[in-house]
C-alpha cells in the first residue's frame, strides 16, 4: 500500500508496509500514482504528454528508479502482517504493565466538557484510600510478568485532591520496586489549582511526566475550565504551571489542552502556550457525546486541518531559529519507532492497561469507567469478566474492517476503543471524524520529520 501527498512544497510518498518514506519530484510522483494501474508504456505515454518539455529518456529513467525501489522492498510492499495480528497480545497475555489510578473521583473545577462528569464518572464522589492504592500496585506487580517498566498514572477528577495518599503511595512503590526488580514510571495529570511548592518538589522528583491542563487563550480556557462559583481558573493556574515547569529541570511534561467547536482555530491557543514559555505541548480534539454543543462539526473540519498545517510550518520556522518546541502528535521517530507487532496490536486497553476506580474496580481504561458492562473485575480477585476482556484482547488493526484500506493503520493501530465505542456502539468500530483528523496529523508530522531529515 502506498500513500502519497503534497504538503509544504514536498511530494511525499509513504510505503506503508515497509515504513519507507520517499520525497520525489513531480514526474516521479505521477509515475508512482499510475504505476499499479497502467502498463509501463501507458504510464510513459501519459507522463510524456503531461511533461512535454521532459525527454522520454528522462521519464524512462524515472520509471526504472521506481521499479527498482519496488524490487528492493521499499515501494508497493505487500501487506503480509495480518497473521501476526494476535501474536503480541498472545505473547503478553495476562501481563499488565500500566494502570491509570483514579485517586480522586472528585474535582475542584467544574469544566462543562469533562468526559468524566466533573470527576464523578456518573457515580459518587470518592477518593482512593492508601490501602486500595497499595493493593493496586501489588496487583500490577503480581501481574506484570517479566516486564521491567511499569507505568502508573495518577488521574481523576483532580488527583491533587488526594495528594497525601499519592505521596505515601509513591513511597510504597519505591519500596516494592527494588524487591521485585521493577521500575515504576509515574505520571500526574492535574488542573493545577492545588499546585504549591510541595507539589512542585514532589512532582519534579518522582513523576516521569506531568500533564498540565491548559486550553491556551484565557477566554477559551475560562469558558470551560471554571470553578463551582463559575470563575475561570486561567489566572490562578498559569503562574503555578510556569513555576513547576521552570523547576522541572528538563524532565518531561505536557501542557495539554482540549479544543472544541468554540476554538477550532486552536493554533492561537498553541501560540499563547508558547508565549507563556511552555514548549512541550499537546492539544486534543474534544471527546463528547454526539450532538453536544461542543462537538467538532463538519464546518470545523477544514479549519482544524488548516491549524495542523500551519502548526507544522510554525514548528519548522521555530526549528530554523533554534527555538524548537514539541507537539505531542507530531513526535515521530521514523528510524526508531515501534515495531510491527506494536503497530498492529492496538492500545492495550483492557489487557495490558487498565483503570482502577477509588474502590478498586478494574475497567479497560479511564474512558470506560462507569460503563458497567465493561467492568472487568477488581484488584482483589483480578479480571473476572473474561467476556469483556476478550473483546478488548481481540482488538487490533485487522479486527476493524474499516481500517483495512486505510494508509494510516500502521501509525494509529486501529485507534481508541473508547472513541469507537462512543461513536458506533462497538469497540471494533471506528470514530470516522477522529480518523480523518488523525490522517491529517500524520501527514503533517511526517512532513515535519521529512523536512528535518533533509537538512541533515
Amino acid at each position: 500500500m502506498v500513500h502519497q501527498y503534497k504538503l509544504n512544497g514536498y511530494n511525499i510518498v509513504l510505503d506503508i508496509c515497509s515504513g519507507g518514506v520517499h520525497v520525489v519530484d513531480d514526474i516521479t510522483y505521477d509515475i508512482i500514482e499510475a504505476f499499479e494501474k497502467q502498463t509501463r508504456d501507458e504510464v510513459i505515454t501519459s507522463i510524456s504528454s503531461k511533461y512535454n518539455e521532459v525527454s522520454i529518456d528522462e521519464i524512462e529513467e524515472c520509471y526504472t528508479q521506481v521499479e527498482s525501489l519496488k524490487s528492493s522492498g521499499a515501494l508497493f510492499t505487500p501487506d503480509t502482517f495480518e497473521p501476526m495480528a494476535d501474536k503480541l497480545k498472545a505473547k503478553t497475555a495476562g501481563v499488565i504493565k500500566a494502570l491509570c489510578l483514579h485517586v480522586a473521583h472528585t474535582c475542584n473545577l467544574n469544566c462543562s466538557y469533562c468526559f468524566a462528569s466533573q470527576g464523578k464518572y456518573h457515580g459518587e464522589r470518592a477518593v482512593m484510600s492508601l490501602e486500595v492504592g497499595k493493593r493496586a500496585l501489588d496487583f500490577l506487580v503480581e501481574n506484570s510478568g517479566s516486564r521491567h517498566n511499569l507505568e502508573v498514572d495518577f488521574f481523576g477528577g483532580e488527583p491533587l485532591m488526594n495528594f497525601q495518599m499519592i505521596k505515601d503511595l509513591v513511597a510504597y512503590a519505591r519500596e516494592i520496586e527494588k524487591k521485585h526488580n521493577k521500575k515504576f514510571r509515574f505520571t500526574l495529570t492535574t488542573n493545577g489549582v492545588l499546585i504549591d511548592d510541595d507539589v512542585i518538589d514532589f512532582a519534579n522528583r518522582e513523576m516521569s511526566n506531568v500533564v498540565l491542563s491548559l486550553d491556551g487563550r484565557k477566554e477559551i480556557h475560562d469558558k470551560y475550565r471554571v470553578d463551582y462559583a463559575g470563575n475561570g481558573s486561567w489566572e490562578r493556574i498559569v503562574p503555578k504551571f510556569q513555576k513547576l515547569v521552570d523547576a522541572r529541570g528538563g524532565k518531561n511534561y505536557y501542557m495539554r489542552g482540549t479544543f472544541t467547536h468554540s476554538n477550532p482555530d486552536f493554533l492561537e491557543d498553541i501560540k499563547v502556550m508558547l508565549d507563556l514559555g511552555f514548549n512541550e505541548l499537546s492539544m486534543e480534539p474534544v471527546v463528547c457525546a454526539k450532538g453536544d454543543k461542543e462537538e467538532l462539526t463538519e464546518e470545523d473540519f477544514p479549519i482544524v486541518c488548516k491549524q495542523y498545517e500551519d502548526l507544522a510550518s510554525l514548528m519548522l520556522k521555530k526549528h530554523s531559529e533554534g527555538k524548537d518546541f514539541t507537539f505531542y502528535h507530531y513526535m515521530i521517530d521514523l528510524k526508531g519507532g515501534p515495531c510491527i507487532y506494536k503497530r498492529i496490536s492496538g492500545c492495550g486497553s483492557g489487557t495490558e492497561y487498565m483503570a482502577v476506580t477509588p474502590w478498586g474496580d478494574l475497567y479497560p481504561c479511564h474512558q470506560f469507567v462507569g460503563e458497567e458492562k465493561y467492568k472487568l473485575g477488581d484488584i482483589y480477585k483480578g479480571v473476572t469478566n473474561k467476556e469483556a476482556q476478550c473483546e478488548f484482547a481481540s482488538c487490533n488493526v485487522y479486527a476493524r474492517p474499516d481500517c483495512k484500506d486505510c494508509w494510516a493503520k500502521l501509525y494509529c493501530s486501529g485507534g481508541c476503543a473508547a472513541n469507537a465505542y462512543h461513536a458506533t456502539g462497538s469497540v471494533r468500530g471506528v470514530y470516522e471524524y477522529g480518523c480523518r483528523l488523525f490522517r491529517k496529523r500524520m501527514e503533517c508530522a511526517i512532513m515535519v520529520a521529512v523536512a528535518k531529515a533533509l537538512e541533515e
Binding site: 515497509s18 521499499a74 516486564r147 507505568e151 519507532g337 481508541c416 533533509l454
Partner: protein
C-alpha cells in the same frame, strides 16, 4: 538526475524478526488520553 530521495527509516518487515517484547510505553498513557496513536512511541527493546 536524482528523482527520489529516500528518508532513512526503520524497516517494519525487519522489525517482525526481533519485535514484540512489549516493553514500550502504553500508547494512551501520556498526553493524549483520547486520540490514541502509536506513531510517536519509542521502541524500548533492549535486545534488538
Amino acid at each position: 538526475m536524482e528523482h527520489i530521495k529516500t528518508i532513512k527509516t526503520g524497516n517494519l518487515c525487519e522489525s517482525a524478526k526481533n519485535g514484540g517484547c512489549g516493553e514500550c510505553q502504553t500508547s494512551c498513557q501520556s498526553a493524549c488520553k483520547t486520540s490514541c496513536g502509536i506513531a510517536n512511541q519509542q521502541c524500548e527493546n533492549n535486545n534488538k
